[in-house]
Symmetry: D3
Subunit: 258 residues, 6 copies
């Protein structure tokens, strides 16, 4: 099964990514039918764990989205488990050094490129028998997160690590580490300059930079800047934003009756 | 603990109600913070069962919403269980005759008004010890659904049943039973005439009519007509509607780049 | 596998029964090691459903307690499911007439005594293959609840129904239906007179009367009166009672320091 | 989305049906890839409830099997919920009279053929928006179980009920009700004669008879007799049969070393 | 939302802490109403994981207890997840060196004090929007466990680590590491001497020492010694202790009849 | 409670081990009744996590199998949790150096042999009170996995590590690391030579070598070679293999009718 994310990138376009914080197969299958290219289960900050990830993946199977995961940490046990569980992509938080990026690659790639253990209990269901192990190293997307000052200082060395497909920017944490308020769609020139450099350095290496956004305005702007994967806020955030707006409108239009 | 729904009604206003189809405490607590007056776990058409209802109720506790349930059917076992589980209101589908409405009242009220069995395992936590059983018959809201031609024909007899607090209109099923397409915000004069009559007959008896809507426009319109409880579509519907819109806008604003 | 409850009754003694409201296999296995003769999963007022019952039964398997269930209602689907799930005894709420008792027997017994459907998915694990269906009608305990004025008025006719093993008194509901406050350990002469009569009528028919209590004092007293199965309050009640006492003692003994 | 079961029947062939007793999306998706035409979640005797059914359905989505359910009982609440949850077929136990079959049809069909309530929370995902309600009455398979002497006596009247697609034989219960040992693959002439008659009466009415089997031998024999849907034992039974055989062979071939 | 634990400490008093081993929101909300000041979900030795912690926290929300966690290990992924999940306090096992304590502080504090990643999915619900990130570093309680000989040898260096609020003694492990039997309420002079020193060294630094106890007697004694947080045994232990006592009393008072 | 695995080894025989990938107590209790000596919950490649392991263990309790776990990684938090949860044996993946083996022993043994923390929440239920801590170091089986070229090169040093009971071969990963296709039952002379050496070196040290197989043929062959623990493929694999075979036979014997 080819990875839709890689196909979109090959076509020169950007990927519009969904983000699951709600630990429910039902909300996952709803999101999977809304038009996203890929959908990521957030095991770091989302209310997700391994079993809820499996349920989300099962529920999204058969819908045209690439299932990805943000792992809680760069730890070999969980990186292996999410890949066996069916992830076509891994976003890994807080990769600050080339060594940390190399470790991620080791955990996620089969020999000889890495040390991932064989046993793709769900991902082995993709394609014909035995084919998964032959294609996984090529098909799975690896995106270390660049979200601290240290990571920015190590940018080029990190991007030189063989086996990654790009980086994923966490604007809140990135700003936080520079002493700024944690928020998503950033406007500070010093941060935008970093974004520019990331995009250029990725382009040089045929890598794909991604970024976490808070809605369509920021997402489109970031695509315009050159980002190749944008996340449109998470499921619960979209729901809450819309619910608040609908309630407000209902009360307003009811003119004091509700 | 007084029932906020009854307080709003006493103040002459309409209740804005949320609706939970996603079986997750997390999405429930998100919804509970958006500004709804009451939130209903939908055990009939939602992806909900008793245990997911309990988790939703636990997660909403401490937030300023009245927890209600739509039960899957007018059956004494489940009516008792949802009340013991903490529901402050019960919406019951497909009540077509006065006898069915009387049965619902019997299942939901303690003696001498009904035959509900004592054992409020979670609802007994409300208020001081032993107080729940003294106030439950007065505080809990009972809304039989009026959603078929038969029910409309029996309207006045149903509304005369002692112990109900109003009725709840299911516009899809109501239209369906009249040979119309099942949809929520209806415009057919024959249906609007039924709505009018329900509102008037409720007013006569100091009962409160409620209705299921598909968004703020229909909700505000229905409040304007005289409905006293409006549901603003369910959690997954709000999420999907907004997600589709955000994705579309992102793609459009990206001008072919996504 | 012989039913320990029946063996204790044959020996002339009373059964000390535990009661599970917490939907957790772990708390069930803890309770199963405390010294109860039988442990009942309360699907009526407890925070339990079918799956949590299965988990409680699995966790209690291998511990020396007879697994029983209080079903949410006298409905054939759930009576069959709890028996298939491994129950050795069924307590059924709100049996007010002989016909309701006969229905319960029909739901719970295999042909020719009843109409229970064959498929003991977990209970078939007891004993050697195929033996379960031959012994289930004899081994499983059926206890309709006698907990309303109507039931008391029908007492002898209910006790005459073939296939039941006794009755189970719900003191709260019984008092409630007589216009008294709902509580467990009752002292009212009119209620005690009913208890007396139930015990005598059971004795006449070699049936075993059981009763729900709120602690050891009431339980021992009821055993003294002739009850043959006493429930010692539920798991969460025992826990809360002791926790409150321990906290109070800690604060008191800390003399203002906590 | 057309129903594969109906397509196979139209082609003149028999459906090979899987059966899920294990409440796990993972075992469901494994079974869904083994070659079955349809897979039925058994909510009557299996260790399944509504939420585990949803998980099984989500996990089977995208695999080429028709999802069906055996409901625990002929009760409107659960029949509606399993259809809303995505079932393309309903097998209903213990239908003994034409009235019971008519009730099942009422519960399962939208108006004007029945009284099913509108709200296909998951099944509405099939096909384009709004299309489900237009096709569900035609696409969904309804199979009342014929599994008692009473049902056999009412055979023709039951088969005459409009809206059913056939019947499903439960050989254990059928034998049980005739005073025989409960088992699946039956050889008694009196039972085989009943099978013959069911097949003929179904053929007359263009209905499709199905039957529960215990393995490939019985299944193939029943297909040869004219049954149009055969179940090959449940998931846990297949697993246990094979596991026992593998262990035995391992120990035997190890010649006393294990 | 101010942290009640810190407020009690400021008032000079000791905190009475509950401890959850049962993975159930229901038992958590029962415990949360018994009078504890704080309640800790034990992810190390309790039958708890991240999702059960979330359910316990959701169920305790709205009750007047501070929610805390004992993490399974000093690992950045899980420390971040429990804080995002709503913990107001983290107890971390087996902190034996100042470096390990520093790591814990790094994992648990936002920049510039640490490297915690921003994304308080549930804890962000506390207070007004955005306020959490501004107060979390101050409000959250960090208690490394001092429970080995090595830790005792490093006591002063550990207590000097900036960002911790005290230490938490695990008497069983502490005794174990000194070659003593593992048990809770210890009397050995060598251990009591260690306790004394811990209390004094904490006092010097305005830190708060806590300790795990087995009941009210030990708890009150430890408060008397100067401990500022005492845990009264876990939920399942309290339940089992009381259940055993009630059963024994019932049997004893029944004089051979049970 | 003595460990059956150790008893079988003492008797000179090999252990036939089951393997659970399905996260369900029900499938676990089915497998536990098939004749295995031990059953291992696979938390590395199986669809298992801590809570599903607990449910599998609870469901297997009372059945004559030794409960074991393959942990996801050699990490102290999870090694402690599975032992507290009731594991009598731990298989640990990817132990490539003596230091890694020593770490595993440290995590799994109580002082003075290791640093495992005291709190056997479920395993403490085995035997009489307090006895578990005295026998656990002796009764629990520790099997580091030898499954890379590096591990083979360190074979003797790893086997010299005090506290392990043998090693467990992962044939797929072992082959993978030697540049071969990942599969279970291997025939390559270079691999068989490694097996031979492992068996001999284990024998020298009175250790017990185990190996993962794909069915009875390979298992019996490996027992013949001298392996002392063989795994017969996992639950889902056994089920799928048999289901495919049954379906094929049904279709074949139906001669085009299915």
């Amino acid at each position: 099964m080819p990875n839709k994310v890689k196909e979109i990138w090959k076509s020169g376009k950007a990927v519009v990514n969904g983000w699951l914080a709600i630990p429910s197969g039902f909300s996952a299958e709803v999101i999977a039918q809304c038009g996203f290219d890929s959908v990521t289960v957030d095991m770091q900050h989302g209310v997700q764990d391994y079993q809820s990830m499996v349920q989300c993946f099962q529920a999204m199977h058969g819908h045209p989205v690439t299932p990805m995961v943000r792992v809680p940490w760069n730890e070999p046990g969980i990186v292996g488990k999410v890949l066996d569980g069916g992830a076509y992509g891994v976003i890994c938080p807080m990769i600050n050094t080339p060594q940390e990026a190399k470790n991620l690659v080791q955990y996620a790639k089969y020999p000889p490129k890495g040390t991932r253990s064989n046993g793709p209990i769900r991902s082995g269901m993709y394609g014909s028998a035995g084919s998964y192990q032959q294609t996984a190293n090529d098909e799975i997307v690896l995106l270390p997160m660049m979200e601290t000052k240290t990571a920015v200082e190590n940018m080029e060395a990190i991007l030189d690590v063989e086996g990654i497909d790009g980086v994923y920017i966490g604007p809140s944490d990135l700003g936080f580490s520079y002493g700024l308020v944690p928020k998503l769609d950033r406007e500070e020139p010093e941060i935008l300059k970093i974004y520019d450099k990331i995009i250029k350095e990725c382009d040089k290496r045929k890598l794909y930079p991604g970024i976490h956004c808070s809605g369509p305005v920021g997402a489109a702007k970031n695509i315009g800047m050159g980002f190749k994967l944008v996340t449109l806020a998470n499921d619960s955030g979209i729901m809450a934003t819309a619910a608040r707006q609908w309630i407000d409108q209902t009360r307003k239009d009811s003119k004091g009756k509700a």
